[in-house]
């Protein structure tokens, strides 16, 4: 009857969102008067989840699951949920998790609500707050099914420490050939760079930068801040930057702590996609750019003068605060 949480790892190391979803699951478990059980796949240091309120870890060790496989992972999670009698399953909002969540929910006849931004409004009835209309609104959604699957938005609840002792148990789900009917051939993941999904800070460039050759200063600004780089839709449509960097309503959503937009005017679709970011800074030479209405801080000025100065000031700041 525990709350089940899927804690994601990459090459054995827990992702930051694993600790956030564990923290969220602990809050739900407290409300329901129960405990949290996590499922891990080929992870190291499982007991560290105890710091975030996980009392029990079902540890899956299986070479076939080294590369993420949505159907096989969903099957394993369904079996874990049954074994635990779990009625609430908590997931993240990563690309992998959004791939497996509907499979898991359909397998279990469970209602699934993604993009959840706060602890449940209530647990009886079970109502959660989530974003809708591409961040232009929120919905308070009741889940009426017996089993409930919740996808928590990145950076929405935060990582909260609630130290308990985590008992680690081996768990061996029975997987079929059918679980592996979609095979991974090749994974092409940028290494050594912060991804938009995991980033605390995102630095984004728009058409105001005039051409792909001018992205050096965006990259440098991102590097100084330890940030991910992103771009507006026109920039990705023009082929200046890869599609994977396109953020906005039809691109990737951004939910970082700080979003810095350089040379982006702020079309309504772009603002929708980045509105979940906590603090927004805009640098644009047009004082009428709509982004200034949605931003917390702004500089009206030429990006080619402002950004190098900002890089310099940030370097000084980092040197003083190192």
């Amino acid at each position: 009857m525990s709350v089940l949480v899927y804690t994601e790892s990459l090459k054995g190391k827990f992702k930051k969102n694993a600790f956030e979803v564990a923290s969220y699951a602990y809050k739900v478990a407290q409300d329901l008067g129960t405990t949290v059980t996590a499922v891990t796949f080929n992870a190291q240091d499982d007991a560290s989840l105890g710091t975030y309120g996980v009392s029990k870890v079902l540890k899956v060790t299986n070479d076939k699951l080294d590369t993420f496989n949505a159907k096989a992972y969903a099957d394993a999670l369904a079996q874990a949920a049954k074994a635990e009698g779990a009625k609430v399953i908590v997931l993240s909002s990563s690309a992998d998790t959004k791939f497996l969540a509907p499979i898991l929910a359909a397998k279990m006849d469970a209602g699934y609500v993604p993009n959840v931004v706060a602890a449940p409004d209530s647990t009886s009835p079970f109502v959660v707050k989530r974003t809708a209309f591409s961040n232009k609104g929120f919905a308070h959604t009741e889940i009426t099914s017996e089993i409930k699957v919740i996808g928590v938005s990145n950076n929405a609840y935060g990582v909260v420490e609630n130290s308990v002792s985590a008992a680690v148990e081996d768990f061996n789900p029975s997987l079929t050939d059918g679980d592996f009917a979609v095979k991974s051939v090749e994974v092409d993941r940028v290494t050594g760079k912060v991804t938009i999904a995991d980033a605390d800070i995102v630095v984004s460039g728009g058409r105001g930068l005039k051409g792909p050759e001018n992205w050096g200063m965006i990259e440098e600004l991102a590097q100084v801040l330890g940030a991910a780089t992103a771009c507006s839709k026109p920039v990705s449509d023009l082929g200046w930057r890869p599609h994977g960097e396109h953020v906005g309503q039809t691109g990737k959503p951004v939910a970082s702590n700080l979003y810095i937009a350089v040379g982006i005017s702020g079309a309504i679709q772009h603002l929708a996609g980045v509105s979940a970011s906590k603090v927004k800074v805009v640098i644009n030479n047009d004082p009428e750019a709509p982004f200034f209405k949605a931003a917390d801080y702004g500089i009206v000025g030429d990006a080619f003068e402002v950004v190098p100065k900002l890089i310099e000031k940030l370097k000084e700041f980092k040197a003083q605060n190192a």
Partner: protein, 248 residues
Amino acid sequence: MKILVCISNVPDTTSKINFTEGDTKFDTNGVQFVINPNDEFGLTRAMWFKEKQGATVHVATVGGAQTEPTIRKALAIGADEAIRVNAEPKDGFFVAKQLAEVVKNGGYDLVIAGRESIDYNGGMVPGMLATLLDMNFVNTCIGLEIDGTQATALREIDGGKEKLSTSLPLVIGGQKGLVEESDLRIPNMRGIMMARQKALNVVEPVDAPQLTKDEKFDKPAPKGAVKLVSPDNVGELVDLLHNEAKVI
């Protein structure tokens, strides 16, 4: 190859969002409805399969009669036939159940749906549909090639992409990348005229439970005024981000 493209009827991306009836319903007043952008990339890819590989392309939506202009647009772009399940879409599971019935009756090899609709952003219909039908499934699909019954798909992952191999029957959750923005088609007059002759079959829904219900909507709190920093004093911005916003 028989392809079904699932279409969601959504507010245009430029729409202002308002709620009505005590904030319990989306206010459609003055809103222009369009083919969900993620679905339109899939529909355009389906047209490629039709033209290069001789595929038959049907489109389906779950919705009332008010969705028909959007379906007609899909026919004008080049789909051969359309199916409308005559029911208000209650939630993602309900829609997946309806589409599963359409797929079963139509014997489709490939089902292309959008990764998510831009209104309710559930992102669950393609995966639930595949699971209900025990078909293979690839989400956030940004590239798809079919050779006989073999499929090679590219999927967007956090920080990169993954190449996958699988077989038909297959469901994909598609998005930009399946085709480029510049490949999208505006229906021409001939397409619009032909669309009027094409079959738009209305079928009644099957019984399906509703597992989630939107009780109430609200909008983000209005934003305070932007704090402007002079371009000659960029250091002040660093100071504000550190001491006031506490994000660096």
